[in-house]
C-alpha cells in the first residue's frame, strides 16, 4: 500500500529542485534542502520519545504528522538535534493566547519571534551574542525558518493568500535567537517564567523585527530607561491600539549599567510602564476612539503602551555596544514559553 505521506519525486539536480519547490509553493524564496526519506527519518529520530500530539495548524486546520513537520525542518536546513526546539516553538504558537490565526490573517508586519533559554543554547550553538538577530548561525537561521515553513506548508499560511501582511518583514524568513544568560545580570527569562535553570525553553511571541534603541551617552540606569521609554512610546505601534505585550532586549552593556544602579527587572518594567506614554497631542481623534473602543483609555493626558508592567517582557541578548532592542508585538498576542523536550535515550 502506498504511503500517503511520501511524495515520489524523481531525482533532479539542485537547480531543477530549486525550481520544483518554487513551483510547488513550498519555499520561502530560498532554495530548500531535499527532504529525502532518510533525512526525514533522522529528523524524526531527533524528537524520539516526544509523543505529545501537535494540534491542528491554522488556517488549514490540518493535524500534522511528525514526518510532515520533520520534512519542513529538513528543508529549512535543521540538524536533527534542532527539531525538539522547532516542536516547542510550534507548540507555543499553537497556544490559543498566541493568536496564530489573527497574526496570520492580519495586515500587520508580525512574525513569530523565538527566544531560546537554557543549556540547549550552548549545545546547539545558538547565537546569543553579537549579531544574534542577524545572519551567520545555522541554529538561529534554521530553527526560525523551519517554524515558518511549517506554517506555510502544513498550516497553509501562503504569503499574500492566507498570510495577508501589507509588507511582511525580514523576520518572516527567520527570527530566532538565544538569551545571553551568561552576560545578563538578571535571572534568565525562563527562570522568571517559572522554569528551572537547567531546563531549556522556547519562548514565542508574534512580533515585528527588533527596533534599535541607541544610547551611547547616558551613564546611569535611569537615564538609559528614560531614553528607552521615549523610544517605545510610539503612536503608530500596534501595542497602543491592541492590548498586548512586547519585549525589551537589553544589550549586555546597558544591562550592566542598569544592574550597577540596582535596577531590578520589576523596577524596570514599572518605570517603562509609567514613563512610556503617548500624549493625546500625538493621537488623532479617530485613533483615540479606536484605542478607547479597544479598552485603552488615556490617563493624565496620555495613552499607555502596555496593559500592565508585566506585559513589558525583559531579556538580555547581543554583544558589545551601547544598544538595546525594542521588539514591538502584534498586540493581540501573548508571550508563550514551552519547555523543549530532549530526545529520549535510544
Amino acid at each position: 500500500m502506498p504511503d500517503a505521506e511520501v511524495l515520489d519525486i524523481p531525482d533532479m539536480d539542485p537547480d531543477a529542485w530549486a525550481d520544483y519547490v518554487e513551483q510547488q509553493g513550498w519555499t520561502d524564496g530560498l532554495p530548500l534542502v531535499p527532504p529525502t526519506e532518510a533525512a526525514v527519518a533522522r529528523m524524526v529520530e531527533g524528537a524520539r520519545g516526544d509523543n505529545e500530539p501537535v494540534p491542528p495548524i491554522t488556517p488549514r486546520l490540518m493535524t500534522p504528522t511528525i514526518r510532515s513537520l520533520a520534512a519542513n525542518a529538513v528543508m529549512a536546513g535543521c540538524r536533527p538535534e534542532y527539531f525538539p526546539v522547532v516542536l516547542a516553538a510550534l507548540r507555543g504558537v499553537l497556544v490559543a493566547d498566541y493568536n496564530l490565526h489573527g497574526t496570520l490573517a492580519t495586515t500587520h508586519s508580525c512574525a513569530p519571534m523565538v527566544m531560546i533559554n537554557g543549556p540547549l543554547r550552548k549545545t546547539l550553538n545558538v547565537n546569543c551574542g553579537s549579531n544574534c538577530f542577524g545572519q551567520g548561525w545555522r541554529a538561529n537561521a534554521a530553527i526560525g525558518r523551519a517554524l515558518q515553513l511549517i506554517l506555510n506548508n502544513v498550516g497553509g499560511a501562503k504569503p499574500a493568500v492566507m498570510d495577508r501582511l501589507t509588507f511582511g518583514s525580514p523576520a518572516k524568513y527567520t527570527f530566532c535567537f538565544g538569551e545571553n544568560e551568561e552576560e545578563s545580570p538578571f535571572a534568565p527569562y525562563h527562570v522568571r517564567q517559572g522554569f528551572a535553570a537547567d531546563e531549556s525553553v522556547a519562548t514565542v511571541i508574534s512580533s515585528e523585527p527588533n527596533h534599535n534603541l541607541n544610547d551611547h551617552g547616558s551613564t546611569s540606569g535611569i537615564d538609559l530607561l528614560t531614553t528607552f521609554a521615549g523610544g517605545i512610546a510610539s503612536p503608530a505601534a500596534n501595542n497602543i491600539s491592541a492590548k498586548g505585550p512586547f519585549f525589551i532586549v537589553f544589550g549586555p552593556e546597558h544591562a550592566a549599567t542598569l544592574a550597577r544602579d540596582n535596577w531590578t527587572v520589576e523596577a524596570i518594567q514599572q518605570f517603562l510602564f509609567d514613563k512610556a506614554r503617548v500624549p493625546l497631542s500625538e493621537v488623532s481623534a479617530e485613533n483615540r476612539y479606536r484605542y478607547e473602543t479597544g479598552g485603552n483609555f488615556p490617563e493624565n493626558g496620555a495613552f499607555k503602551v502596555a496593559p500592565t508592567p508585566e506585559d513589558i517582557h525583559v531579556a538580555v541578548a547581543g554583544g558589545p555596544g551601547k544598544h538595546s532592542a525594542w521588539i514591538p508585538s502584534f498586540g493581540g498576542t501573548a508571550a508563550i514559553s514551552v519547555r523543549i523536550k530532549p530526545p529520549a535515550a535510544a
Binding site: 491554522t58 488556517p59 488549514r60 486546520l61 490573517a105 497553509g156 493568500v161 492566507m162 495577508r164
Partner: protein
C-alpha cells in the same frame, strides 16, 4: 444561526474575499458572503457611505426583506 432562523452573513472587502473563502473551506463552512469594495478603514463619511449601502443591500437580500 441559519438553522435557528437567523440570517448569518460575513461582510468582507473584495480584497479579502479569497482569504474568507479559504478560511471557510478549512472549517467546512459555506458562508453567505456580502462583498464590498476595499478598503473600509481610513475613509471619510462620504466614501464610506457606498460600502454601507452595499452591505445593507446585501443584508436585506439575505434577510428576505
Amino acid at each position: 444561526m441559519r438553522k435557528r432562523g437567523l440570517a448569518g452573513v460575513v461582510i468582507a472587502t473584495e480584497t479579502f474575499r479569497p482569504l474568507v473563502l479559504a478560511q471557510a473551506r478549512a472549517r467546512k463552512l459555506e458562508p453567505h458572503l456580502i462583498v464590498v469594495k476595499h478598503p473600509v478603514g481610513g475613509l471619510n463619511a462620504a466614501e464610506l457611505e457606498e460600502r454601507i449601502e452595499a452591505a445593507f443591500a446585501g443584508l436585506k437580500l439575505e434577510m428576505g426583506v
